[in-house]
């Protein structure tokens, strides 16, 4: 039996970064807003207090903060002709759940995409010819939104988080010490960069000697105490090195908990219900309007929540699945190229270089999620790709995100993964090594997509999402090229030795890479090529919005959260200034 509840103006499906941002914006506009979160309530002092937050076994290995794959997971395969199997242990990416979700256990790496990243197709076509964007069956697109349109919203997110960094381009003027390749920023970062420790400093010196342009990684691990425009307070980071996979007990990592919830939870027109999982979006008989959502609570009771607007603010994989389960938009067919929902699933192309010293103590336990010195010389289209045979790029960061003993002990080439020899190498190298991250773009490809699995179902009986993905030659060539550049930096540091971990072979679900899944509910300027318009409004059902990285038509060489947040603010601005006065399509089809 389904109980019908009292209608609300807007229902948010999922309550991480995008749900919190949209919830605050809509509640401030006077709407009655209900957020439904499938996971539990989470609060700094009770759920990740400093007294137990730094517990690798609990959080990194036993996945305490992540989605429970015995209730729900997805199936994965590399190619169309394979049978997809369920991901029974989280590996390549770590799906969040609970209030704050990935915004709780991220590293705090806050980036903006390059202006040219938003015109992947037209920009590269113009500079390198039509073949550059169609080789390897790439299906890259322009976003339908520009950097300039998003800049004020990137700025809003920086001010929300108190982002620590150094501008490299202020209103078109290149600034010493920042990223000279970045799009023009209207404002300096709210707080100065973190203090760079020894490893990142060495990286920066070597990169500069080679003529590159090192700068401190912009970070949501704050360099100093900060009060944001909502009055929420963040503390100064203590460099404990437990960010990614962990909640921050020191109020010093930007998260929904530290930046928005203190303000939003006090509003009478905002309500959050936890442990309530939305099963589907319900549509009117003509399927042109959503009437609300059906959800089930932790006692197994089913409810219909009527709403004037439905905002899909879950993670990309859940958003795409809900669109498919609810029949919103035409599913993508990789054989014909027809349809849009599930199209252009993409990821992140990662490789790394570990450097080992005899004479330098790196002390990696002094770390933070975004403690790094970075070069952006080989990202996006910051360099000439003529004759290289690929598009896209990567940043290279000399990072010390932490020295967590289970996960983050680097041993040189040839050392076995266990046993006496490993122990001796670990003891010798733990304090004297660190890693460069080569964080690369991932272009979209005709065969990489998301759909509903024909076989496997979740605890509610719904088909699981099926992911079909592999890296293409474009990604391998890009990654090798930038990894070679990173090796040059490693050599310039004169280490005892270094180890190169290249991106080789097919994508594997097992080793952790990043939780930067993108696409499947992509944005664009027309309904034939995209699921949502530039304001993340679905073309087919105008009172349904799909937020998050699902909107990325392909993924740039940066961590996605900054762009996810900017797109959410961009959508919220349009909803609160235009849509609520006259609900309907915000862009003519």
């Amino acid at each position: 039996m389904t109980t019908t509840l009292k209608p609300v103006d807007a229902v948010l499906v999922g309550f991480g970064w995008t749900g919190a941002i949209m919830g605050q914006q809509l509640a401030d506009a006077g709407l009655s807003v209900l957020a439904l979160e499938r996971g539990p309530w989470r609060d700094t002092a009770t759920d990740f207090a400093t007294g137990f937050a730094q517990d690798e076994l609990r959080y990194m290995w036993r996945h305490h903060l992540f989605q429970n794959v015995t209730d729900d997971t997805l199936t994965v395969r590399n190619h169309l002709d394979q049978e997809a199997l369920p991901m029974r242990h989280l590996g390549s990416f770590l799906l969040g759940t609970g209030v704050g979700s990935g915004g709780v256990h991220w590293n705090g790496q806050i980036w903006r995409f390059l202006p040219s990243d938003f015109q992947t197709k037209s920009h590269n076509q113009q500079r390198y010819g039509a073949k550059a964007v169609s080789d390897y069956d790439l299906t890259v697109q322009d976003w339908g939104v520009t950097y300039d349109e998003l800049e004020p919203h990137y700025d809003t997110f920086d001010k929300l988080c108190g982002t620590s960094g150094k501008a490299g381009n202020l209103n078109g003027q290149i600034q010493a010490g920042g990223n000279p390749f970045e799009g023009a920023r209207a404002n300096e970062y709210p707080t100065p960069p973190m203090t760079q420790t020894y490893g990142p400093t060495l990286f920066g010196q070597a990169a500069a000697e080679l003529g590159h342009h090192p700068f401190p990684h912009p970070t949501g691990n704050l360099s100093q105490p900060y009060v944001n425009p909502l009055g929420a307070q963040l503390g100064k980071c203590t460099y404990c090195g437990f960010c990614e996979k962990f909640g921050c007990g020191n109020y010093s990592k930007a998260s929904p908990q530290t930046t928005i919830l203190p303000y939003l939870m006090a509003k009478p027109n905002f309500t959050l219900k936890t442990e309530c999982e939305v099963l589907r979006v319900e549509l009117s008989a003509d399927r042109k309007r959503a009437t609300g959502v059906t959800y089930v609570n932790s006692a197994g009771e089913e409810f219909f929540q009527p709403a004037e607007m439905v905002i899909l603010s879950a993670y990309v994989l859940q958003n795409v699945r809900l669109l498919l389960l609810s029949g919103i938009g035409k599913p993508y067919d990789p054989k014909t190229g027809e349809g849009v929902v599930g199209k252009n699933y993409a990821y992140q192309t990662m490789s790394s270089v570990n450097v080992f010293f005899d004479d330098k103590l790196i002390n990696p336990f002094i770390g933070a999620g975004a403690l790094a010195t970075v070069i952006d010389d080989f990202n996006g289209d910051n360099f000439d790709h003529s004759g290289l045979g690929f598009i896209g790029g990567a940043y290279v960061g000399g990072m010390v995100t932490g020295g967590r003993p289970i996960e983050m002990i680097y041993t040189p080439q040839g050392v076995p993964a266990w046993g006496l020899e490993w122990k001796q190498a670990a003891a010798k190298n733990y304090l004297r090594s660190f890693s460069f991250s080569i964080h690369g773009s991932c272009m979209s490809h005709r065969g990489n997509y998301l759909d509903l699995d024909p076989t496997y179902r979740d605890v509610h009986g719904r088909p699981m999402l099926r992911m079909t993905f592999d890296f293409t030659d474009n990604e391998h060539k890009m990654s090798d090229y930038v990894t070679d550049k990173a090796v040059e930096v490693a050599k310039a540091m004169n280490p005892r030795e270094f180890k190169v971990n290249r991106r080789t072979g097919s994508w594997s679900v097992t080793p952790y890479q990043t939780t930067h899944n993108t696409g499947g509910a992509i944005m664009g300027d027309n309904p034939r090529d995209s699921v949502v318009n530039k304001f993340l409004q679905t073309w087919d059902v105008p009172n349904v919005f799909s937020l998050g990285s699902g909107a990325f038509p392909q993924n740039a060489g940066y961590n996605p959260t900054g762009t996810v947040a900017a797109l959410a603010y961009h959508a919220a601005h349009e909803i609160t200034t235009r849509y609520i006065k006259a609900p309907g399509p915000l862009v003519a089809a």
Partner: protein, 451 residues
Amino acid sequence: MRRPRIRGKAALGATAALGALGLAGLAVGQILPPLPAHPVTGVTPVGFLAAPIADTTPNAAQLQRGQYLVRAGDCVSCHMREGGDPLSGGFALKTPFGTIYSANITSDRETGIGGWTPDQFHRAMHDGIDDQGKNLYPALPYPWFRRISRADDDAMLAYLKTTPAVSYTPPPNKLPFPFNIRFLVKFWNVLFLKSTDFRADPRQSAEWNRGAYLVTGLGHCGGCHTPKNWLGADKGGQDLQSGKLDNWVAPDLTANPRTGLGGWSVEEVAEYLKTGRNARAGAGGAMADVITYSTSLLSDADRHAMAVYLKTRPAGAEPAIGAPDAHAMARGAAIYSDACASCHLENGVGQPRLFPPLGHDAVLQQADPTGLEHIILAGSRVGTSPAAPTPLTMPSFAWKLTDQQVADVSTYIRNSWGNRAAAVSSGSVRSLRKSLDLEAIRYTANSGDQN
């Protein structure tokens, strides 16, 4: 993070006229109403206390004054139970004599005070006698409230009668014999009800007198901050020299530089009252609600006046304090590094307004260490306000530290960075742990590992 205690009640259901919107021709296929279509009428307790009263309301000036005075009296902290409506009562006040439940003071005529006359209300506030002529327990702080002017009492009642009527009868008090005999309160009044109507001190400034009126009257600061005798009455001549209730210590508010406000500036006191935090301290324990439902909602001028008055309160005699045991200090230092330094930092400097600095700290140096032990065992959340909404929280360490470890780290903190206070015994920690019901580790919905 505290969730608002009340949520939206009935939606208005008012849907704006649709005609003039000109939405015809959109692909939606039907015209949708503009938003908000389902406005929320419920309020949070703070929203309730701060809800504007229009100047055009009949009797607006008196009602606005009454609402402000209800904030100044911190009525909501006691007259609201968890999950209940503001002012509807039912909050369990744990006294050394038993549990007393606060009354419903909404405008409900049957269960609240909607039928009370101004004379009846004044008698309750001034003499502790209810509308039936029965004695009220001094849990209602009438020994302080009797300093309130009649005009202010009348304003409060007028305002309270405009609040939404909530039909709710609190549970009966749980008081053992002989404290359950209300008649005995008459003797208590004869013995202890010494306070008089407020009289301004002509030698002091108008601001000081305003502060005195708020602190010693409606604000009833001494209700917690003045030590009590065995019958729960103020100890004579020890005003605001630190009290104890419900396993908390309300710190010394006198000029004592070690345990009181001697080291604080007037501005620091006022900032603390406004936001629950300043460069020296954070307002946890029972003070958190005082910040949220009272002092943060007052005017800057009134907070400044309270601070000016408080800064002139004379300190009590300083006790002799022996040097702490060196072994306990060494053990405490090690525990501090392990458990405390990530927020309060190795040298105790903390992060002002976030994690209180521990040096020269009044709370830590109170003669009675119960407050410090309580914070370590149970954790403590600072009061929030619209100006400072972050509910900064010290986590509980009851699950992690033994009684001896809590005692040692307390002794260490109480005798480091300029602090000086008596050593803490594991016995006092043990008994507090027992009375806080923190002897067993409790697991929450979030506790389990999934694999």
